[in-house]
């Protein structure tokens, strides 16, 4: 499971377990005539938790947009759950980068999650009992039922992030894309969100791509890392990437990986 060479992963589209959630084969992306990155060979197995790191402007969000089908690559082939990417694929859920929801947003957490389930449907119709049951189940899965009836604007950043994850889960996705979900969260909330995501992907066999500036909260749970260096997304096992010289090169500043006596590692900038 943790060995992530693309050729070793079984490629069986539609298989419930095993097989690849994402396969990029020599993919390149150009935006407005500028090469963002190229020669991307990435394979994310089902149920795996991948980190995506790299300095600002290296194309992390661009990679997410390719997976979401919002951006067509200039070269190479992309397979998502055995099929080409397409917009509105219900098997993919996405939590975009954000600061916080508007403080005066007149919407309950429950309504926010319901939008994930029925928000794309046309025509006026009240939510059915089974819709609300699915919403309640998603709220319970992330531990947000206690504040699901509060207006979302008054909730803390960590509570809002849980609701957004519940919204992402309500369609039972097989691939979850999280863009900087830890930004602007306090340490405890970061820890809780990371472990929530880890538990959910294990329980439900969801492949997760987790964009984060800060690696430390993720070190315990990551299977593998994608880093974008010199315009090329590259996959590496945690041990390969957690090297002071590689990370220093990646972030173009001194970065050190320290190990504690009991085997914990942490990354610090100089």
């Amino acid at each position: 499971m943790l060995d992530l060479k693309a050729d070793e992963v079984q490629h069986s589209p539609g298989a419930p377990a095993g097989g690849a959630a994402v396969v990029l084969d020599d993919v390149a992306v150009t935006l407005g005539g500028r090469m963002i990155w190229q020669h991307a060979n990435v394979c994310i197995p089902r149920g795996a938790l991948f980190g995506l790191i790299g300095p600002n402007g290296t194309g992390k969000t661009t990679l997410l947009r390719v997976l979401l089908g919002q951006l067509a690559p200039t070269a190479g082939s992309v397979r998502i759950l055995g099929a080409p990417p397409r917009r509105g694929n219900a098997a993919i859920s996405y939590v975009p980068q954000r600061r916080t929801l508007d403080a005066d947003l007149a919407l309950r957490g429950r309504d926010l999650v319901l939008l994930g389930l029925t928000g794309h449907r046309w025509g006026f119709s009240r939510a059915s009992k089974s819709d609300w049951d699915a919403v309640s189940a998603a709220l319970r899965a992330v531990g947000a039922d206690a504040y699901a009836d509060e207006p979302v604007g008054i909730l803390s950043g960590g509570e809002q992030q849980r609701l957004l994850i519940a919204q992402a889960l309500v369609t039972h996705p097989q691939l979850l894309l999280l863009d900087e979900p830890l930004a602007s969260l306090d340490l405890r909330s970061q820890h809780e969100i990371v472990h929530l995501v880890d538990r959910l992907r294990r329980e439900r066999n969801i492949a997760v791509l987790f964009v984060s500036h800060d690696l430390n909260p993720l070190l315990e749970v990551l299977d593998s890392l994608i880093y974008i260096l010199d315009g090329q997304p590259t996959v590496g096992a945690l041990d390969e990437v957690l090297q002071s010289d590689l990370l220093s090169q990646l972030y173009a500043t001194d970065v050190h990986v320290h190990s504690t006596a009991d085997g914990h590692r942490f990354v610090v900038g100089a």
Partner: protein, 309 residues
């Protein structure tokens, strides 16, 4: 216009017998027209207003209304129907604003400049056709008592079409208004909805101008929805309450305006404003010791006006 309200031409006092009073009110065709048009417009304004507050389009709404002044007065100059002039002008401007979408964010100066120029254009048109100077006041402050039977049908048809369209796009529009990025990833046509909503907003603004005029549009389109969103965070309830409030203001304004020699648009605005202040004061008082549910009025209004689209 045809029926200028003034204390000297008409002094009617209520008998305080509800049935008799209502019979008296509704024996006039202009009051029937005013009630029909006012109710239809209030329902539409309540629903659309919910999304205006949610999408932070208060400033754009005012810009559309003020811009509509040029369209309305232009129609007067050309001898065309005022409602049609308004509708044409606001729809084109609205569709353009919707198309620009996020790129309009923070362009308050550009919106404000366009707004000022539209008003200036309107005043130029008024000078060109001095015969219709009296209409300027109607366009600016509304004169629902003067609405013609033909206009009532016109307004009603557009309002019903707009409400039907809102019903069809209710869920995707709510999704796109709350979080455009996630909605887009789910396959919701965010840009198309933005343009469509601005056209619906243009229709609502044009219809509301018949009731409260260009300058008082805030009362009918923003205040009921803003008050409702203070009371409940449940979208369906908030929309229902906004509609109820808007209809109540219009009815109360019309009844009071019938007996007093002052324009209904003043009373509609006054009721809306007082209710909003009351709701805000009571709810802030109740929630004062706990976590504050909402920011104060000034904050809401300044931020909404400041954020543009």
């Amino acid at each position: 216009m045809f029926f200028q309200q003034s204390g000297s031409s008409r002094i009617i006092s209520p008998t305080w017998n509800v049935v008799a009073d209502l019979q008296q009110v509704f024996q006039y065709e202009f009051m029937q027209n005013a009630f029909i048009a006012g109710t239809v417009v209030a329902v539409l304004a309540g629903v659309v207003g919910y999304f205006v507050v949610l999408r932070r389009l208060s400033f754009a709404t005012e810009a559309l209304a003020h811009g509509g002044f040029a369209g309305a007065t232009g129609a007067v100059v050309l001898g065309q129907d005022v409602f049609l002039g308004l509708l044409t002008f606001t729809s084109v401007t609205g569709a353009f604003m919707g198309f620009l979408g996020d790129r309009l964010r923070g362009r308050d100066v550009a919106i404000g400049g366009t707004l000022a120029f539209s008003l200036a254009l309107g005043s130029l048109f008024l000078t060109i056709s001095t015969r219709f100077a009296g209409q300027a006041v109607n366009i600016l402050f509304g004169n629902i008592l003067a609405i013609a039977t033909n206009d009532v049908r016109f307004v009603a048809v557009f309002a019903l079409v707009a409400l039907a369209a809102l019903g069809v796009m209710y869920r995707p529009l709510l999704f796109a208004s709350v979080d455009a990025e996630i909605a887009d990833a789910r396959g919701v046509p965010v840009r198309l909805l933005s343009v469509a909503f601005m056209v619906l907003l243009a229709i609502t603004v044009s219809a509301s101008v018949q009731v409260v005029g260009v300058l008082l549009i805030f009362a009918l389109m923003i205040l009921p929805a803003a008050a409702a969103q203070h009371v409940t965070a449940q979208p369906g309830h908030a929309i229902g309450l906004a509609v109820l409030l808007a209809v109540a203001y219009v009815w109360a304004g019309l009844l009071v305006g019938f007996y007093l020699p002052y324009p209904p648009s003043f009373f509609i605005t006054a009721f809306a404003f007082v209710t909003f202040l009351g709701v805000r004061t009571v709810l802030t008082g109740v929630a004062g010791g706990q976590r504050s549910r909402r920011g104060p009025l000034a904050e809401v209004m300044i931020r909404e006006r400041g954020s543009g689209l």
